[in-house]
């Protein structure tokens, strides 16, 4: 049995191709049922995210199943083979195992280390289980993939640092305040970046959000979206002392928040820390503010610097993660080989044994006057011959078969063992 992975990802196809070939991930029932009916395919899982569409399956004949999958993908999405083939990749054997482990560990992601893909893979697996399209091999394979991902996550720092500006800001806020759920955020102005940042902070449990803008309308719109409160621009400084996090992104040509204003606010709030993020160009917040105790001011370049640094850290950690994947891949491949050997030995024994029994029956029915004890002797004789003959091939399978699949295939061909029976 072979594991085969095929499909396309952000590395091989642009967004418009990925869109055309994607499956609706909330309802994979139809494609799963169709794919499991492909003649050479045994088990299948469909993983469809915005960055990749992949089919993970098991089959005996890899080449045949790859052809069938290509045709399935084209037919299902009403495209031609020529359109999709250049974007598709297929992996088999160890490469397939490695690929799935890398995907699960987020080593193959657009942003290496992003945590979403593992959840998506789990969902894909759940759909497949619900549709009963997985069997013993894929079940074990996917559980292994999840545990490899967990191992990568805990043993390397691959996911420990933020690689987007918004995440970096949220992470910083948490390194200052720990808990964000009782903190107040003030958003001054309403640029696109500021909106994105606010969205991230609000999703991290921040409950109290204040928005102020020179044009009240825009502030109202944002306040509605994030269920925040609107603050009039001229009320801003009266409320400054209660804000823990201040994000500024107005297009004002001069400084809005001056050193004196923050120094005063700091006295009022008894030195409780303030975290300011200035993403406006030109800057809205006096850079000297960072010299005040318990005040932390970051501008867009500072955040960019963090992201850059984190990205390098991740690349370094990714190397270590590849090592883990390689190790686990070998271990799983070894297991897969063993799965192969045992059934082959059993079929081989059964086949020879059935031949022996048939022949003995034939002989006994012709041979009249044969005594019970003679029958037993003949039985023992044939049994011994069969065992002696089988001894070497079975040994050969046990020792060589675990390392590569070539002898298994050969033995199957020589003895004409049918594969479909033992699945």
């Amino acid at each position: 049995m072979n594991i085969i992975v095929g499909g396309l990802s952000h590395k091989t196809a642009s967004i418009d191709i990925r869109e055309k070939l994607s499956f609706f991930s909330h309802n994979l029932n139809t494609p799963l049922q169709e794919i499991v009916n492909l003649p050479s395919l045994y088990e299948a899982i469909i993983l469809s995210t915005c960055n990749r569409v992949e089919i993970i399956c098991t089959a005996v004949d890899s080449e045949k199943v790859i052809r069938e999958i290509k045709i399935f993908l084209a037919d299902f999405h009403k495209l031609t083979l020529e359109e999709i083939t250049p974007h598709l990749y297929f992996y088999t054997g160890q490469d397939a195992i490695r690929h799935v482990f890398r995907v699960a560990s987020s080593l193959d992601s657009m942003i290496v280390g992003e945590p979403q893909i593992l959840g998506q893979l789990k969902d894909a697996y759940r759909s497949a289980v619900e549709n009963k399209t997985t069997g013993s091999i894929l079940n074990r394979f996917l559980y292994k993939a999840f545990s490899v991902a967990k191992r990568v996550r805990t043993e390397t720092g691959i996911a420990s640092s933020a690689v987007s500006i918004s995440f970096a800001a949220v992470e910083l806020a948490r390194k200052i305040f720990d808990n964000l759920d009782d903190k107040k955020i003030l958003l001054i102005g309403a640029g696109e970046m500021a909106e994105l940042l606010t969205r991230h902070l609000v999703s991290r449990m921040v409950k109290e959000l204040f928005i102020t803008n020179r044009t009240l309308e825009h502030a109202l719109l944002l306040a509605n979206e994030f269920s925040g409160k609107v603050l009039k621009f001229d009320e801003l400084f009266d409320n400054l002392a209660q804000m823990d996090i201040i994000i500024s992104s107005t297009d004002a040509p001069d400084l809005i928040i001056t050193y004196e204003k923050i120094a005063k606010a700091l006295r009022v709030r008894k030195n409780k820390p303030i975290f300011l993020i200035d993403i406006a160009v030109p800057r809205n917040i006096d850079p000297r503010i960072n010299d005040l105790p318990n005040v932390y001011l970051y501008n867009i370049d500072d955040l960019d610097g963090i992201v850059e640094k984190n990205r390098r850290v991740r690349e370094k950690e990714a190397k270590q993660a590849e090592g883990i994947v390689e190790e686990e891949q070998l271990r799983f491949y070894f297991w897969l080989q063993q799965q192969e050997v045992t059934p082959t030995i059993i079929t081989l024994k059964e086949k020879i044994e059935s031949i022996r029994l048939k022949e003995i029956e034939k002989t006994f029915s012709h041979w009249e006057g044969l005594r019970e004890e003679d029958k037993e002797k003949i039985n023992a004789l044939t049994h011994a011959i069969v065992n002696k003959v089988l001894h070497d091939p079975i040994n050969f399978l046990k020792t060589k078969g675990e390392k590569n699949r070539f002898p298994i295939e050969e033995i199957k061909k020589i003895f004409n063992l049918n594969d479909k029976e033992d699945v």
Partner: protein, 288 residues
Amino acid sequence: MQITVPLYFKQIELYIFYLTLVIYCIGTINFLIYLIKPRPLISFLSFYITVIGFVFHSIIFLFRYFTNACFPVTDLHQSLFFFAWCIIGVFIIFNIKHKIPVLGSFVTPLATVFFISSATLFTQNPVQIPPPLRSIWLPIHTTLAFLGEAFFGFAFCGGIMYLIQENQIKNKKWSQFLHRLPSLQTLDDLNYLCLSFGFLFLTLGIITGSIWAEFAWGSYWSWDPKETWSLVAWLIYAALLHGRLTIGWRGRRAAFFLIIGFAVVLFTFLGVNLLLPGLHSYDSFTSP
């Protein structure tokens, strides 16, 4: 209370002492590795190795408690030994409650240093204080004082961690330490907690000490160097606590204060004994 034991027990005590020393060193090294490689398994190992060390440490302490003529804190070896025990004890309780294993990377080296200093002064024939001083106040006073100092030792570590973390965030020098150390808020809360407990125990230690002094020497306060320096430490911590509650002395400034405060505490503990002769100097017990 004193139990007489066969002589070979002393030999066993010596072995367990060095075993504890080795375990603490391994625990400390593990905790330092955890700082470089923050894997859950390493923190788990480091913590439990430290706990095992603490169990042996406690066994020796109990042994001494029952075989000594008085509460075993009467010389520098025993005091350092007991101080290390208090620090590790506070750390273990703290880590079980708050789960901040990275504290161990700072606290266990501190305790291990004290334990090693204690080992260099190892003696099994401790100074015996004269019977008039042997009273219930000996264990009460010393335990309170050492607990207070252990909390200040903790706050000292918290202060150092705060300064490292604050420096990274303030100056935008992000290293991997940033992820390993707790947030500023957590550290500041920790420092405040340790300050409060330390202050409480130190105050009680000073009060019980002066009651004991009244019984033993006939005066509550005699401006002995140890008393004077404890008062200095007490004033520093009192000032910090007051500043924090009234005008919000927190963060960096508080961290500096905690580091200076602990330096004074250490001087009170060690410097006074070694440099300034007085009532508390252990060899002067015989002639107070």
